[in-house]
């Protein structure tokens, strides 16, 4: 009881762009990225305190593609989990155009309003591709990460999705910025890429790139 608020140590996130020296070796300086994919990282300000860091990532395929996802088995599944699972199910894992991701707010335990927000994000991303509805519902997977129990500042996000589309590109910098945009308490962006071949087409060089985020609340159990 004698302790006051002043005795609480507060966490200071690394200043913008500052990656701890010990972690710098895990951040790639170049990469080989898959053909036909474009990415971006855009600042929205999902958290009011975020004045400049990208917090909206967009991953798009130039053509509709095959996709699959695994999702948390936590019974309190966030709205974007439910919406994305429905999209993949309705589409039988094909015809997917993009993944739109915000950090700063998880859109979890946000009720029906949260579901509507996740659907709006997916719909707004779809609109960027200028295609009329094919009757199968959205073609953009949506993800969110950050604080649980708060509604997304959805209008701010929706307004910036066209900008995120305009920002799309295929360079290493584009991929790295997108990887930064999904970070929360992470201290460095997590991005890797590689080339590989398959036995039936040994002369064809295939590419794979991936980004991930996570630092806390990590004990995944996905299916």
């Amino acid at each position: 009881p004698a302790m006051s608020q002043t005795s609480i140590r507060h966490y200071s996130a690394p200043v913008e762009g500052a990656i701890p020296v010990a972690k710098q070796k895990y951040v790639p300086t170049s990469g080989t990225y898959p053909k036909g994919f474009l990415v971006s990282g855009t600042h929205v300000g999902v958290k009011a305190t975020n004045k400049s860091n990208p917090d909206l990532a967009f991953l798009a395929s130039e053509t509709p593609c095959a996709a699959a996802a695994v999702f948390t088995k936590n019974k309190f599944q966030a709205a974007p989990v439910t919406v994305s699972r429905d999209i993949l199910k309705r589409r039988n894992n094909k015809g997917i155009r993009s993944v739109i991701v915000n950090s700063g707010c998880a859109n979890a335990v946000t009720g029906k309003g949260g579901m509507e927000d996740a659907e709006k994000m997916s719909f707004e991303a779809d609109k960027c591709f200028g295609e009329s509805s094919d009757g199968q519902g959205g073609s953009s997977i949506v993800m969110s990460t950050g604080v649980i129990g708060q509604r997304l500042p959805i209008q701010k996000i929706l307004l910036k999705i066209p900008t995120a589309y305009d920002n799309l590109g295929s360079s290493h910098e584009h991929w790295l910025t997108a990887a930064r945009a999904i970070c929360t308490t992470d201290t460095f962006p997590k991005l890797i890429s590689r080339t590989f071949s398959l036995p039936s087409s040994p002369s064809v060089e295939y590419r794979m790139a991936g980004m991930t985020k996570g630092a806390g609340m990590i004990h995944p159990n996905m299916a």
Binding site: K23, A66, T72, A106
Partner: protein
């Protein structure tokens, strides 16, 4: 929360992607832990647009399927390890390798329990070769919960268990427990091993041929600071 996106220009039939991803994730993202809390938002997606050309993978029995499965699993594992390396406040990257189990389920459960144990993780932060805490976590991992019928799987026989530390620098392992009997541990050598960022804890149950691997990190003061400050 864990989020992940993987994109490839290889041509994969949409119907095969879910099984490819599930298998890869079970051996990668589903085999890491930082603090034992499963998020409401964890999602990993894979997209394949076929832009590089070549033959589409259409059969689970094809060589291409097997090769792609291996590539995807290794790739997902490398991504998952990066998450562990960035665990909130983490100073260590720890591989928990459980071998000699009668079942893969048992090996995974034990590896997961050791990887989540706060006392194991604080010992690692304190650079203490505390094999007792590892043995303790191994011993309760397969017990039934209070109130449930006794359903103890007899996979853990203390007299068969060996525990060792395998340093990240490739130097010889340090045996801590051999067939249930404690070794005389060279504390200086143990401290030397625990100075490194990377460490493998090998637990051999001595009761079978199945194995499992989990990746985890230590618990530091910083974890409390970060999460004591994170607000809803």
């Amino acid at each position: 929360t864990l989020l992940g996106m993987i994109a490839t220009d290889a041509p994969i039939a949409p119907s095969l992607l879910p099984s490819l991803l599930t298998s890869a994730v079970n051996k990668s993202f589903n085999s890491i832990t930082i603090d034992g809390d499963t998020s409401t938002n964890d999602t990993v997606a894979v997209l394949a647009n076929g832009a590089a050309g070549g033959q589409e993978i259409t059969s689970e029995s094809s060589e291409d399927y097997t090769a792609f499965q291996k590539t995807l699993t290794e790739f997902a594992t490398d991504l998952a390890k990066l998450v562990v390396r960035d665990g909130e406040g983490a100073t260590k990257f720890v591989t928990i390798h459980v071998t000699g189990s009668p079942t893969e389920f048992g090996a995974r459960k034990i590896a997961s329990t050791i990887a989540r144990s706060p006392l194991v993780k604080t010992a690692l932060y304190g650079r203490d070769a505390n094999w007792g805490r590892i043995a303790c976590a191994t011993g309760y991992a397969l017990l039934s919960e209070p109130g449930q019928p006794i359903n103890e799987v007899e996979e853990v026989t203390p007299a068969n268990i060996s525990v060792s530390f395998i340093p990240g620098d490739g130097s010889p392992e340090l045996k801590l427990l051999v067939n249930g009997e404690p070794e005389s541990v060279d504390e200086a050598r143990a401290s030397e091993i625990l100075e490194h960022e990377d460490l493998e804890i090998h637990v051999n149950l001595g009761s079978g041929k199945e194995e499992a691997t989990y990746w985890t990190c230590d618990y530091s003061h910083e974890y409390i600071t970060i999460n004591g400050d994170y607000r809803t």
